[in-house]
Amino acid sequence: MSGEQIGLWAGLILTLMVFSYLLGDNFLYRIAIYCFVGLTAGYTLVVTVESVLVPWLRGTLLSPESGVGGMTIGLIPFILGLLLLFKTSSRIGRASNIAIAFLIGVGTAVALVGAIAGTILPLAAATGSAVRVDVLSGFLLFLGVACTLVYFQHMAQRSANGQIRRRLVIRAAAGVGRIFVILTLGALYAGAILTSLTIFSERISYILSRIMGG
């Protein structure tokens, strides 16, 4: 039996072990999950070292072309990474906040810029263009966006009698927005079911091909 065949049969066995969760949490299921998690962690570590750390070292610290500035830049990620290790200590754990603050700050900035340039502006432009191209679709799109936004706002006015209620228009728009939200969530749910079925059918096909040779 070749290595490929062994791998295929191992995949079959592991698949059946995972499916055994249908009978409840059991040893076989846990073994399969642990194997998967362990292999994933191990491979990620190897890939990170080979694909991230080593190239960085070669480009900065170990590069003969890099001067002092390059070496300094090359050391910064390792210093920040070392600070993260201090998180395990209660005394010097605060030192890791520097690295965490750097990560969060830069990550937030990148995400913010990306959201503006890649989501807000394009979607707004697409919404506007859709209105021009197809009136009906554009109207529905605009209606859905507007009503959904209204649905997620919770401001209200206090009337003279002390009651806090939203205006009728606002409530109506929120109701429509709620319908859109329900439809969206329903679509997501249906999509999740389809995804699950797709993956399940692939596994069934795999099992049958192993068993029946088809």
Partner: protein, 1220 residues
């Protein structure tokens, strides 16, 4: 010694300051005077200084300590005007209170703890001059005292009067003690035996009191007392005023002593004590006349005329007459002290044994430490006499009240209208008035620092304040009315007074006993006791214990240590609980509030949940202490129970019997049963549903009858985002690099692998090079496996015309991008760095300068977040909008990005689009990778491609093998044509133009793909051959080669290859070709699946294109040359150019059926169509992707049915419950 000595807080140096002054006088005897050597208290020093001032024989300021000078200079003429009772208490501690066992404000005898330490047996080492100071360990409880010694040394050096008297060893801080303290025996000093004073610094003193006859031994002395081997002064341990850090001008303020108590009271700081330097010769005579037999007398060394019989140890200490054993200056005016001794006026009335006399209360013998050199009964009186003689009369002459009380009286005399009083001020005004009414025992004036209250033990501020009769303090209204505009009649009326009394009585209930309701808040908080044993005062507690317990001296060391530890415990609160725990562990209930312990299951009620092991331990403990389990009277209900008990929830409860009945009495505890092994409870309903779903998915694989529904369309709908994605990939040119992002893991492989496979095949078929990169390390590994499977497919390589494909040349697996958005952004902005190496760290040689250099950006994404990141971080920087392939679950949120004008250039969703994509590729490749039929000896592959055979003209007018995807009017066959309404939109090939040609024999000018063929939809060819697979023959006119360019093909297979009559497997084979055999190519189908060849004998047939390798020849006369598909863009790629999107038109399908297609023949030169052939038998086997689709379809039906059935059942159950 009493345990009261242990109670001295270390922050009371002023007390010891005075006592040390007193002792210092003793030490100075040895150094200064030779005829007397008995110490006095600091009071004497103080008085001596005052007397010296009065006699003008000594400059008062010079005699004073610096801080004293500053203080006295501030108050000229009133040298002893002590208006602050806190300071009053300070000096009291050092004066008469010492003799009477007075205490500090908190602990009457606390200061004595350290004071009694002073009679430490002198050490020979201590008698020797020591230089410098050494640091003192902070853990030494007597550190401050040692530091104080050094401070005294420093102070003496500052005193000009002390300078002449400074002994050679004046720097020795403990030298003053050497001439004074009787030496205990070595055996009786546990501290000495242990060698550490910090272990039990006072233990040795206990023995010292008992064994007075002990000999002097340097080894017995505590190390800290010797001063030789013990470090001295740390400034941190001393108050600033003591260490002199604040300069000699800083007196020991009340803030230092009592923590700002006077400030709280609004009282003027205490007066500075007048410096007094006492010569023991002057003052020793009086009390030496009648010393007690057991009193340790400390004469001045060298006093030969003394009648006293000095002990033996004295010789050791004062062996050298005249030697300066002390560091404290001795007064050069002995007559002054004699004046105090003999010229004292009438002694103040003898006070009874004060309350603060701890010795008397404890029943202990008089403290025989040497300082009590007079009879206890008369000592105080004599001292007072000394004090009273030379002191100037206090402002309130005729009374013995201290100055601070006088000041209070003065304050009370101020009209209230002029001096608005706060609550506290008012309180003290009343207090002063009350005290003024009391009989004054001491009539002699001149002793402002000494009064009867000190003698009566009222040195404790708590007791002092608590001693005032609150009843007398209450009627203060008349005082107020006397100075204010108040109706006195009304105020003093019975009604008003009753109301006031009732009100104050009510307030008094919340106050400590004996405390006026008008007492300030801080006093109330202190919980001042009135000397009762129930109070919280430490002195009161000690007194109580002293009355009940045996003397401490009788305790053994062990019990003594235990008692000391117990003294550290907080006061025992009243009314201890009678629980068993309280009996077992008295005091625990008060320290730690008991928490109800209810073993059982955890709940939100807050009770403890014990583990099994803990429960066992608890049971054992209960058995030991005989505690019965407390039956909870109320079983708290959980939130779930409360929710279920709601009326509206009645219909939603599965079984009403399961509802908790709150009103029902708790069930009897079940008898302990034998614990059985936990059984696994299977949810059969869940298992049944899972089996049902599994069967629905599996059965279509096995049972063809259960294959419901239609397969996905063979083509994308025109204008769809999927079609846009396909077209964008189709624009790739050979050699270009396409970036493919991998953002899914193995868990989503079942859904997204087909999409990735289709994308990669398409890219490779276009001659481009894919470069994989991703943020999922494992996903990247999986994608590499998928890519390698494609590369290892010989059939596919044959399609490409490549024998082998190597990494980092034909494809790239770049690096793993950690950090999600950060990683993507970094890659987008620094592509060369990330593209320099592959996932294994090997150099790729890929020269990409920026993101725009990628001809295509695509990504296969599992999650919405990752798809959004690609749309946000990559799309704005890419040359073209990227295309994404996502799963069904992410589609609803990603579709807006793919709208026209959005961030995405195309979108493939789920398995359906992947299926269609692969169908298109199959059409293009002619199912080259499919397994050969069983009955076919050759490697000819069947085809299921819709046989829209578009006639093309291979060699066109240009001498190149141009793109032959011509604008045609084609019809779509197969199931798609059968299920979808055809349109009339003729499609234009998006990949059919401007293909650069570098054919060696061709012109270099690119051509516009001149198409000779003109689609004639109204001219269906003769052979519309329907097949099951929708394959139809195409009447292909061989390409004309006016310029003589011919195209040849070489069999690229290991087996024989069949030549069929038509373009399809349904046609019979007319010939076989050997591997490597060369034939002339005369035409092909529009999808390039079948190649029409001309055999050597002139016959023409069709061969699967996957089995041939095309060659071309510039001229008929030249031999065919092998065309490098990468060197020449034209031939290889042109031949296998993917078909354009085709849409069926009514015209193109004049007789369209579900399985029949109409072949549209367009040919530059009409050729006879192949002979019609009968329909082949239907195929029985389906590829797995079809089975999967059918399985998914049936599974989806099952899911819908299950959900619907479940909803119906729930509705029915609800209805039944509502009806019932």
């Amino acid at each position: 010694m009493s345990d009261d000595f242990k109670k001295q807080p270390p922050n009371q140096p002023p007390d010891d300051d005075e006592s040390l002054d007193w002792l210092r006088g003793v030490t100075d005897e040895g150094g200064k005077s030779s005829d007397s050597g008995f110490g006095f208290t600091g009071e004497l020093q103080w008085k001596q200084g005052a007397g010296a001032g009065d006699s003008s024989e000594a400059p008062a300021d010079d005699l004073l300590f610096d801080w004293q000078q500053a203080s006295t200079s501030d108050r000229p003429g009133v040298p002893n005007a002590s208006t602050g009772f806190t300071g009053e208490l300070d000096w009291k501690k050092a004066s008469g209170e010492e003799a009477s066992g007075g205490s500090a404000h908190d602990d009457p005898l606390a200061w004595m703890k350290d004071f009694n330490l002073e009679p430490e047996p002198p050490s020979p080492a201590a008698s020797e001059p020591t230089d410098g100071t050494k640091p003192v360990a902070n853990d030494d409880p007597l550190t401050w005292m040692k530091a104080f010694d050094v401070h005294m040394a420093q102070t003496s050096q500052l005193d000009p009067r002390k300078a002449p008297n400074a002994a050679p060893d004046s720097n020795d801080p403990m030298s003053w003690l050497e001439n004074f303290t009787p030496p205990p025996s070595a055996a009786s000093s546990p501290a000495a035996a242990s060698g550490s004073a910090s272990v039990d610094p006072l233990a040795w003193m206990k023995d010292f009191e008992i064994e007075q006859q002990a000999e002097d031994s340097a080894d017995d002395a505590p190390s800290w007392l010797t001063g030789a081997d013990e470090p001295s002064v740390p400034g941190d341990d001393l108050p600033p005023w003591l260490t002199g850090e604040e300069g000699p001008q800083s007196p020991p303020t009340d803030d230092d002593l009592l923590g700002g108590l006077d400030e709280a009271l609004g009282i003027v700081p205490p007066p500075a004590r007048t410096a007094s330097v006492l010569t023991t010769d002057d003052v020793s005579l009086d009390w030496m006349t009648a010393p007690k037999d057991d009193m340790p007398i400390v004469p001045t060394p060298g006093a030969e005329n003394s009648d006293l019989e000095l002990p033996d140890w004295w010789d050791d200490v004062g062996a050298e007459p005249g030697a300066d054993l002390g560091e404290i200056a001795v007064s050069p005016f002995p007559e002054e002290m004699m004046h105090y001794v003999h010229g004292s006026p009438a002694a103040p009335p003898q006070e009874p044994v004060p309350e603060g006399d701890i010795f008397a209360q404890l029943g202990l013998p008089a403290v025989e430490t040497g300082y009590e050199f007079v009879d206890k009964d008369a000592g105080a009186a004599e001292n007072k006499d000394w004090f009273a003689e030379d002191e100037p009369p206090p402002p309130s002459a005729g009374t013995s009240k201290p100055d601070w009380l006088s000041s209070l009286e003065d304050m009370s005399e101020i009209p209230q209208a002029q001096l608005p009083l706060s609550a506290e001020d008012d309180f003290f005004a009343e207090l002063s008035a009350t005290r003024a009414e009391k009989p004054v025992a001491k009539e002699s004036a001149g002793l402002p620092d000494f009064d009867t209250y000190a003698a009566s033990g009222l040195d404790d501020i708590d007791k002092l304040l608590a001693s005032y009769d609150t009843a007398n303090l209450l009627p203060k209204a008349p005082d107020t009315a006397s100075t204010a505009d108040i109706d006195l009649d009304k105020l003093l009326s019975d009604t008003e007074m009753q109301q006031i009394n009732s009100l104050r009585s009510a307030e008094r209930s919340g106050l400590p006993e004996g405390l006026s309701p008008d007492a300030p808040g801080w006093l109330t908080e202190l919980g001042v006791s009135h000397g009762t044993v129930s109070g919280t005062s430490a002195a009161a507690i000690l007194r109580k214990q002293a009355d009940q317990e045996r003397p401490v001296e009788e305790l053994s060391d062990r019990l003594f240590a235990l008692r000391e530890a117990g003294m550290e415990m907080p006061p025992e609160p009243e009314a201890p609980s009678s629980s068993i725990i309280a009996n077992l562990l008295p005091g625990v209930n008060e320290l730690i509030p008991l928490t109800p312990l209810h073993p059982g299951a955890p709940s939100i009620s807050g009770t403890f949940a014990l583990e099994e092991s803990q429960q066992k331990k608890l049971d054992i403990l209960k058995t030991l202490v005989a505690i019965e389990d407390e039956k909870p009277q109320f079983s708290p209900t959980s939130a779930i129970d409360l929710t279920l008990s709601h009326p509206n929830m009645g219909d939603f409860v599965d079984d009403t019997d399961d509802m908790p009945e709150l009103d029902k009495e708790p069930a009897k505890p079940a008898k302990p049963k034998k614990v059985a092994a936990p059984r696994t409870r299977y949810r059969f309903d869940r298992l049944l549903l899972a089996l049902l779903l599994t069967a629905a998915v599996v059965l279509p694989f096995i049972v063809p009858a259960l294959r419901f529904g239609d397969l996905p369309p063979a083509q994308f709908a025109a204008g769809s985002m999927a079609a846009a994605a396909y077209e964008q990939v189709a624009t790739l040119r050979p050699g270009q690099v396409a970036l493919v992002g991998i953002e899914y893991g193995p868990g989503a492989a079942g859904e997204l692998d087909p999409a990735l496979d289709a994308l990669l095949r398409h890219i490779l078929l276009q001659g481009a090079r894919p470069a994989l990169i991703g943020g999922d390390a494992v996903g990247l590994l999986h994608a590499r496996n998928v890519l390698e499977q494609i590369i290892n497919d010989s059939g596919f390589r044959a399609q490409l015309g490549r024998k082998t494909m190597t990494a980092n040349r034909d494809y790239y697996v770049l690096r793993y991008l950690p950090g999600a958005a950060l990683g993507l952004r970094s890659f987008a902005q620094d592509v060369p760095a990330w593209a320099a190496t592959d996932v294994n760290g090997q150099p790729t040689g890929l020269r990409i300068g920026q993101l725009r250099d990628f001809a295509l950006v695509a990504a296969v994404v599992e999650h919405v977040e990752d798809a959004r990141l690609w749309a946000e971080q990559i799309a704005p920087l890419a040359a073209q909008p990227p295309i994404l392939a996502v799963g069904q679950s992410a589609a609803p949120l990603i579709q807006p990005y793919a709208a026209p004008g959005g961030s995405l250039g195309g979108l493939l969703i789920g398995y359906r689009d992947s299926y269609t994509y692969q169908s298109l590729l199959d059409v293009a490749m002619g199912l080259a990778t499919a397994a050969p039929p069983q009955d076919a000896p050759a490697t000819e592959l069947p085809t299921e491609a819709p046989a829209t055979a578009l006639p093309t003209t291979l060699p066109t007018e240009s001498q190149t093998l141009e793109v032959t995807s011509l604008p045609t009017e084609s019809g779509v066959q197969g199931e798609q044509a059968a299920t979808s309404a055809p349109t009339e939109t003729p499609t234009l090939p998006s990949t059919a133009t401007e293909t650069p040609t570098e054919v060696p024999t061709a012109t270099s000018a690119p051509t516009e793909a001149p198409t000779v063929a003109s689609a004639q939809s109204d001219q269906p060819t003769a052979t519309g051959v329907p097949t099951e697979a929708g394959t139809a023959d195409a009447a292909v006119t061989p390409a004309s080669t006016p310029d003589g360019v011919q195209v040849f093909a070489v069999v690229d297979a290991s087996d024989l290859v069949r030549v069929r009559e038509g373009a399809g497997r349904s046609f019979p084979a007319i010939e076989t070709l050997k591997p490597g055999q060369r034939v002339q190519v005369i035409g092909r189908t529009g999808d390039s699946v079948w190649i029409q060849v001309r055999l050597e004998d002139g016959r023409e047939g069709w061969v699967s294109a996957s089995l041939l390798r095309l060659e071309t020849s510039a001229t008929p006369t030249t031999s065919a040359s092998r065309i490098d598909p990468y060197a020449v863009v034209g031939l290889d790629s042109d031949v296998f150019m993917l078909p354009p999107l085709q849409e069926a038109t009514p015209d193109a399908l004049p007789e369209a059926t579900a399985e029949a297609t109409e072949v549209i023949v367009t040919a530059a030169a009409p050729t006879p169509p192949p002979a019609p052939t009968p329909l082949p038998p239907p195929q029985t086997g389906l590829p797995d992707r079809d089975k999967r689709w059918y399985g998914m379809t049936l599974g989806l039906i099952a899911v819908i049915a299950i959900i619907a059935l479940g909803a119906v059942i729930n509705i029915l159950r609800a209805l039944f419950r509502r009806a019932s």
